[in-house]
């Protein structure tokens, strides 16, 4: 956790400086902070990916005979025995859902807000956004309802 805090303390200001250099001077502070957080999440996901890949390959491969010492031949046994694997599930959960939240919700709202200018409330912007794209959302909802019906029927038949 401490390592993560140190990394965030260094990375966040650097990314903000980069975004500040890229964005026009009329960009608001809120939008620049949102870009900084989104890019920080992406960069952190790459680091977590590295740790997860390393931890996964020092375990026996799936489908292999784990008692066979040949598959553990090149694995870093000393490191594996000396260090407990880091539990990355919470980190992955936070960063997975954050990246989807930013990709599908936050930047959509920000784009609508920027294109319509100030003066409108977030709720009004959301309403306009859905009204413009009504056929698309109806299609998505129809698919979800069909899928739930299919799953329910399949589940009922199994029961």
């Amino acid at each position: 956790m401490l390592a993560f805090v140190c990394y965030a303390t260094i990375a966040l200001p650097l990314i903000y400086l980069l975004v500040n250099n890229l964005a026009v001077k009329t960009a608001t502070l809120a939008s620049k902070l949102l870009f900084t957080i989104a890019w920080f999440i992406t960069l952190t996901a790459l680091f977590i990916l590295n740790i997860d890949v390393y931890q996964s390959i020092i375990k026996p491969l799936p489908g292999s005979d784990s008692t066979n010492p040949e598959f553990l031949l090149k694995m870093d046994n000393e490191y594996y025995q000396a260090h407990e694997p880091v539990n990355l599930i919470q980190y992955w959960r936070v960063f997975y859902w954050s990246s989807l939240l930013f990709g599908y919700v936050v930047f959509t709202i920000l784009e609508e807000y920027e294109s319509q200018g100030s003066g409108k409330s977030i709720f009004a912007i959301w309403l306009d956004y859905y009204k413009k794209r009504l056929p698309f959302f109806i299609t998505i909802i129809t698919f979800v309802v069909c899928f739930l019906t299919y799953a329910f029927v399949k589940g009922s038949l199994q029961m």
Binding site: V19, A38, V53, K74, Y96, S99, F102, F107
Partner: protein, 381 residues
């Protein structure tokens, strides 16, 4: 109510509800990645190969200058009219903020509106002439002007270099400059080109073998010869290259509203949103794809992802179709089939191959450069 209770007791529904948004977002993100890789896997090595030969690079720069010049003239014509009309209308607007912002925006432009144009414009045109729209157009103009000036600067440098390499001109190259540009440059850039080709081939092969069981055999064989640290090092080389391919693909995309990224406060907010949104949408599916390729089922990522095989089409089925789509897109890009299809239909204005030789554009670019040099010499005198 009893039916709903029964439905939620059934593990299939409660488990699938949780996985449904993941499967959707994963599928969409993967589709975007496949489309971008289908472009970048060919484009990046091609661009590197065009830099190997100084003459080829010089020709491409001249073509760029010709295109930027044409675009600047078009934008200037459109912008001059809009600014004139807006300035004319500004006298009737009782808003100091808008007047101040307008004056700030036109400060960096090489042309200034006088505001004496008189024309009857419709309510629709009036609506178009909002300050935000004008700001976007001005930014777009300045952005292309910056790229034009950079390309011009590069062409000047290459022109002088060419003259000196052929022992023309008053000033000759120094010994180490001569050796570098005449001989060493090619030997330094060529490994980069071949590395790009190799990395692109391995990424394509790993995507293609993804659904099959051959990948696990390759992984086991690799681990026999490498230690885990060395494996992770090589993995990072591919990861960085893959990330570069995705960023390159997004930056080269020509969607409306996206003008690319530029330093010194030239990037508008819409472009930053477009870039950040696509990167955020693709990160999680890219990680999922990497774990699929490496067949690492015991990872922590897999635990939070869950099993998507129960979702029809958007679950595991899409994973099997996606690599074939990548190969098709790659072949389309390599043989430039997009442009040929458009020409066959009759649309000749768009060309997806901006590295293709166009003699007219080269000559036009050369004429623009000569005219600019002559103007500068006249100004100095």
């Amino acid at each position: 109510m009893p039916l709903l209770k029964a439905a939620f007791k059934c593990k299939l529904i409660s488990k699938d509800l949780h996985v449904l948004p993941k499967a959707f977002s994963n599928c969409y993100g993967l589709l975007l990645i496949i489309i971008i890789l289908g472009f970048s896997l060919v484009d990046v090595p091609k661009r590197l190969s065009s830099k190997l030969d100084l003459q080829v690079e010089y020709k491409h720069k001249l073509m760029r200058i010709s295109w930027y010049n044409f675009k600047l003239e078009e934008l200037q014509y459109d912008l001059e009219f809009k600014l004139e009309v807006f300035k004319n209308d500004l006298a009737n607007i009782d808003n100091d903020y808008i007047k101040k912002k307008f004056n700030q925006l036109i400060k960096n432009l090489p042309f200034k509106p006088k505001g004496d144009i008189e024309c009857a414009y419709t309510e629709e045109v009036k609506g178009e002439l909002k300050l935000e729209r004008i700001e976007k157009d001005i930014l777009n103009y300045l952005h292309i002007k910056l790229k034009y000036e950079r390309a011009l600067h590069k062409v000047y440098f290459m022109k002088r270099l060419n003259e000196r390499l052929n022992n023309e001109g008053a000033r000759k190259l120094s010994f180490h400059e001569y050796i570098y540009y005449k001989y060493l440059r090619l030997y330094i850039l060529t490994p980069f080109f071949f590395s790009a080709v190799l990395l692109s081939s391995v990424i394509l092969l790993s995507e293609f073998l993804n659904p099959s069981d051959h990948s696990i055999a390759i992984l086991q064989a690799t681990l026999q010869f490498l230690t885990p640290f060395k494996f992770v090092f090589i993995f990072n080389v591919f990861l960085v290259y893959g990330f570069y391919l995705i960023v390159h693909g997004i930056l080269k995309s020509k969607f409306q509203g996206f003008k690319g990224l530029a330093f010194n406060n030239y990037t508008n907010v819409q472009s930053l949103i477009y870039f950040s949104r696509n990167i955020s949408r693709m990160t999680a599916p890219a990680c999922f794809n990497i774990f699929q390729i490496l067949r690492l089922r015991e990872s922590n990522f897999r635990v939070i992802m869950g099993a998507t095989d129960s979702i029809p089409l958007f679950g595991d089925s899409f994973m099997k179709i996606a690599p074939l789509l990548l190969v098709i897109l790659l072949l389309f890009k390599y043989f430039n089939i997009y442009s040929k299809v458009l020409i066959f239909i009759g649309i000749k204005e768009y060309d997806f191959n901006d590295l293709k030789d166009n003699l007219e554009a080269v000559e036009e670019g050369r004429a623009i450069v000569e005219a600019t040099i002559n103007d500068e010499k006249t100004a100095v005198k």
